[in-house]
């Protein structure tokens, strides 16, 4: 108890040293908390932004001509719609955001258009994510920019397609792609209009192989081939690579910076502890002369380091979380609300790791104190 009282009294006596040491731990903890929160938000934000580039995996019927699909953008063969269920019920797989579609060309009011039927997007078990695309209710249709412009289609109108009436939910903005000449409706409606009940032309997906080594297409083909032998897998490489590289870069930046900040703070604490030991040479010498053993001297310095760590953990956590909450929403506009929040688990980690960190950083100076020669220390004036 007496030694603990000494620790507290010494900290009060040498306030500047104590405050600087707490500041070092606070910096390390605040950076760690802010980095951890920001890294999670940043990775999620990047993932979401990259998702907006579109689906990068296409599963089409095995007998469909892949060359023709790449040329026209529409598979010419269909496959059973329950293929989606087979993919969507698998555990531990490397794809997500499954979207079944039925696409077909048709002429409507003298214009060649694409009709796309869309099923609600589904996620495999344990990979629930917000959908990437909008969901189309039965009886509704989304009209591409060029179609609406040329045929004077307006929102709220009822159109007849292949004998089925659909209400225009929205006229889409110009995309500069195939979507401008596409009408998108519910999968069931498209199956009825195109006379393809229970059939789809493809399943779109996004791979989850950004951090995997090796060839992602081979992994996907092996996985999906085992589930759907009657299908073939194509990957839009440029899209997949861009997405993977962007996510890897963001991950890499945080992985590099955090250890650097922590190492700098460890050195800072170590230097302060060494200065504290140097300032207290005579006191340590006196304690050794009075018969105090190495354990008591260790307790004197490591006890202080533990208290510094605990104080730094609390202050650092509050600071890091406050910084994240204040500046996070401005940086991560899409995901900040979901990703940046008060994380009690981080406080628990901080309260365990920061004292440990401060103790380890103070270890060498403490060993110097323990091995102090009392005669030498007490002779110095």
């Amino acid at each position: 108890m007496f030694v603990i009282r000494m620790v507290l009294k010494e900290m009060w006596h040498r306030k500047v040293n104590w405050v600087l040491a707490v500041l070092a731990v606070t910096t390390a903890v605040a950076f760690s908390v802010a980095f951890f929160t920001a890294a999670k938000a940043s990775e999620r934000e990047t993932a979401r932004l990259m998702l907006s580039m579109g689906y990068n995996v296409h599963v089409i019927a095995k007998d469909a001509d892949a060359g023709a699909f790449l040329l026209n953008g529409i598979p010419e063969k269909t496959m059973p719609a329950d293929y989606l269920d087979k993919l969507a019920t698998q555990q531990s797989i490397s794809y997500n955001h499954l979207l079944a579609t039925l696409e077909g060309r048709m002429n409507w009011r003298g214009m060649d258009i694409v009709l796309t039927g869309i099923a609600p997007e589904v996620c495999p078990p344990g990979q629930k994510k917000p959908p990437m695309t909008f969901q189309v209710d039965p009886g509704a249709v989304y009209v591409g920019y060029r179609i609406a412009l040329k045929l004077q289609v307006r929102e709220g109108q009822t159109l007849s397609l292949g004998g089925k009436d659909l209400k225009v939910k929205k006229c889409l903005a110009e995309s500069g792609g195939l979507d401008d000449v596409t009408m998108q409706c519910n999968l069931g409606d498209a199956q009825e209009i195109l006379n393809q009940p229970g059939r789809i032309t493809g399943i779109k997906a996004v791979d989850c192989l950004c951090f995997e080594k090796g060839d992602p297409v081979a992994v996907l083909r092996k996985e999906i081939g085992a589930i759907l032998p009657e299908a073939q897998v194509l990957q839009v490489k440029a899209l997949a690579n861009a997405r993977a590289k962007q996510r890897q870069m963001v991950h890499g930046i945080f992985a590099l910076m955090l250890p650097f900040v922590i190492a700098a703070c460890a050195v800072w604490i170590g230097v302060l502890a060494a200065m504290n030991v140097r300032d207290r040479q005579q006191e340590i010498g006196l304690l050794r002369a009075l018969g105090y053993d190495a354990g008591a001297i260790c307790l004197l310095f490591l006890g202080k380091a533990l208290l510094v760590g605990l104080a730094g953990a609390g202050v650092g956590f509050l600071l890091g979380t406050s910084l994240g909450l204040k500046y996070g929403p401005g940086i991560f506009e899409i995901t900040a609300k979901a990703m940046i929040r008060w994380e009690p688990t981080l406080l628990v980690f901080a309260c365990i790791l920061a004292p440990l960190f401060a103790t380890v950083a103070s270890f060498i100076p403490t060993m110097i104190a323990v091995t102090c020669d009392p005669a030498e220390a007490l002779r110095e004036e």
């Binding site: 009282r5 006191e283 010498g285 018969g291």
Partner: protein, 219 residues
């Protein structure tokens, strides 16, 4: 009580080895008041540190009540020192962030007993009863040395080693500190004091003169 036999202490310095003590042999009996005199650098402090079980000699043996103190393990020697030997330093060496009472009680830590009553009684005897809650920085130099004396006396040591305890004090304070050492001696304690001053030598029952790390004169 205390016996030094052919004690040699050599320090290694960047300029080579320096012999601080060379083959010093002496015996201090219980109840003696010994003054160790000599010019600066003659080896007085080294001799006291060696006697205090704080500085292992390069050669030779130090026995306290027939026990080889440097034959003990470090932790055992530390407890032995705390129980048997009180040390008074020229520079007082009070812990700056503890008050006077806590500084005195510090001496009891290693032997597992912090007798607050005895500490207060000692402080009263040394005229510091009104200074117990003060920090060392709030005391005069004489008061600081008296607080250090109280610390040295807390564990009822058999031997007090005092390294120029009056070196930094004004004449009145020096006399007061020497008076307390004399009281300890009169109560049956043994005192070894390293000193330049004539006052301490007058109190001593024996004076040892050191020069260049060897005993020049003993008597």
């Amino acid at each position: 009580m205390l016996q030094c036999q052919d004690v040699t202490k050599t320090y290694r310095t960047p300029n080579g080895e320096v012999k601080a003590l060379g083959d010093v042999s002496l015996r201090i009996d219980k109840g003696q008041f010994v003054a160790v005199c000599g010019p600066s650098g003659s080896g007085k402090t080294t001799l006291l540190m060696t006697m205090a079980a704080m500085l292992r000699p390069s050669a030779g043996m130090v026995r306290f009540e027939e026990e080889d103190i440097y034959g003990m393990a470090g932790s055992e020697r530390a407890v032995f020192r705390a129980k048997n030997i009180g040390f008074v330093f020229q520079m007082f060496h009070l812990v700056p962030y503890l008050n006077v009472l806590e500084n005195v009680l510090l001496a009891g830590g290693a032997v597992g007993g912090r007798d607050g009553g005895r500490a207060r009684e000692l402080l009263q005897r040394l005229g510091l009863q009104h200074r117990m809650d003060h920090r060392p920085a709030q005391l005069s130099t004489g008061e600081r040395q008296r607080a250090a004396m109280a610390r040295a006396l807390l564990n009822r040591p058999k031997l007090i080693l005092a390294d120029e305890p009056t070196g930094n004090l004004d004449p009145d304070s020096a006399a007061s500190v020497l008076g307390h050492l004399r009281d300890f001696h009169r109560a049956g304690g043994t005192v070894v004091i390293a000193t330049h001053g004539p006052a301490a030598q007058e109190l001593a029952t024996r004076t040892i003169h050191l020069r260049n790390g060897t005993i020049e004169r003993d008597g």
